[in-house]
Amino acid sequence: MDTSGQLAAHFFREHSGRMVASLARVYGMEHLDAILDAVQDTFETALTHWRYHGPPHHPRAWLSRVARNKLINALKHASRHHHVGDTEALLHDVSTTDPDPWPADEANTDGQLQLLVACCHPALGERDRIIITLHILCGFGIPELANALQMKTEAVKKAVQRSKALLRQKTPNLRQLNLADAARQSPTVCTILYLVFNEGYKATRNAKGIDFDLCYEALRLAKLLHTAAPAEAEVDALLVLMFFGVARFPARLVAYGDWIPLEDQNRSLWDQQLIAEGFRYLDQAQHSGYAGNYYLEALIASHHCAAPDFEATDWKAIHHLYQLLENLEPASTLIRLNRLIAKSYAIGPLPVITELETIAVDGTPGIAFLLAATKAHVYQRAGNTTRARAAYEEALSLAQNPLDSQLIRKRMEAI
């Protein structure tokens, strides 16, 4: 067995997107199905061999070569059977005019970016865009997606089919999609990456609390987008948000899977290196004058990251930022709720109770639970234990996962 090769974490997953991008650039998006099959086949071949011999010395080159050969064979086979005339010409073309059809690293990054922009095509529904991005660029299989997004396998399968058909038709030659296009499309891409990250970060979704894989992939793709749009403050701000979020993951959950509220988190568990990286991007965003919602959210997170302990948090500044955020999104119950929480720490729990009682629940998943839990906690801090207990009971009845129920029970015990 070759003892040289340890594979980097998520090596296959990341290479899946790289290989699809490279192949789609050379052979065209119209062969997307054959390309995805060839890549999947390549991993299976790797599984068969590497299981016994360990990874080869150059796993990347190995995968690329095998995937390309598999695709060429499949296309040759198809052209022989279905008279796809230009495929033969294309293959011929590649082998004679392009001695190294494998784009260098830089071009490969471009390829992934172009593919990312294609996957975020506005003709696709928002959910479809999330699904197809994770499927094509991050190598998420159908069952994995169904699990991560809490959907039925059949529904995911249909979404993938639908999106692939659309991509085959609508995507122009990837080589013609240049980086300026990618930069222009960055707002739509940001939206999807923000959603993917939130999908992973969402408290309400699954028993694990945080799906690190989704957050990790969103961060990786956002960094990729940043290479195409280094001057886009929105992308910087999104990266800040993600770094600050990921940096604090270790403190949010303890080993047996309990949520740790902010005030009880052990801040020494926060990853200072990731926080530093976040501040680096924040610095870039700050000089642009952009003040969109990612930026405001990033600033809020920066105040939390900068506070040595909970008591030192600058709640007045955070409250102000939530006010600005609320101006941008006046319909969001979640932002309003967060603003009131910040206000309750800035000037005390009593003054926010009246407004808390007037909040109506909108369609945001899990919002009713959050509202009840917030009310309970504010009443508790204001010394009204009867109201607090009633609101905790209500929150408990609305909790959607064991972690949330556990947290509420703990707080009730503390009354």
């Binding site: 296959f12 011999h53 360990g54 998420f140």
Partner: protein
Amino acid sequence: MKEFLMLIREDANYGELSAEEMQACIEKHYRWVEELTEKGQFKEAQPLEAGGAHIRGKQRIVSDGPFLEGKECVSGYYILLAESLEEAIEIAKGNPDLDWDRAVEVREIMPMED
């Protein structure tokens, strides 16, 4: 020290495995073999191509192999080193293939008698 042949039997359908899971499978094997090598329990291992031929009897009738569609077939082998069949079985139980619901078969290789 005796030698044991361990055959891996599986239905080579990886269709539902994602890239991440396939990498996990490779890494588990890699670490396992490293561990066996350290303990001096590993001699060699090779995968086998799925295709092959089946040749039978005096007539030398060649068919496409004993590999029925969708049925478990031998996908590879290991040569393990152990003092006894019991020890070899214990080693084989550590094969990560079992975590993916594959099956293994352990047989002692009969040494040449002097």
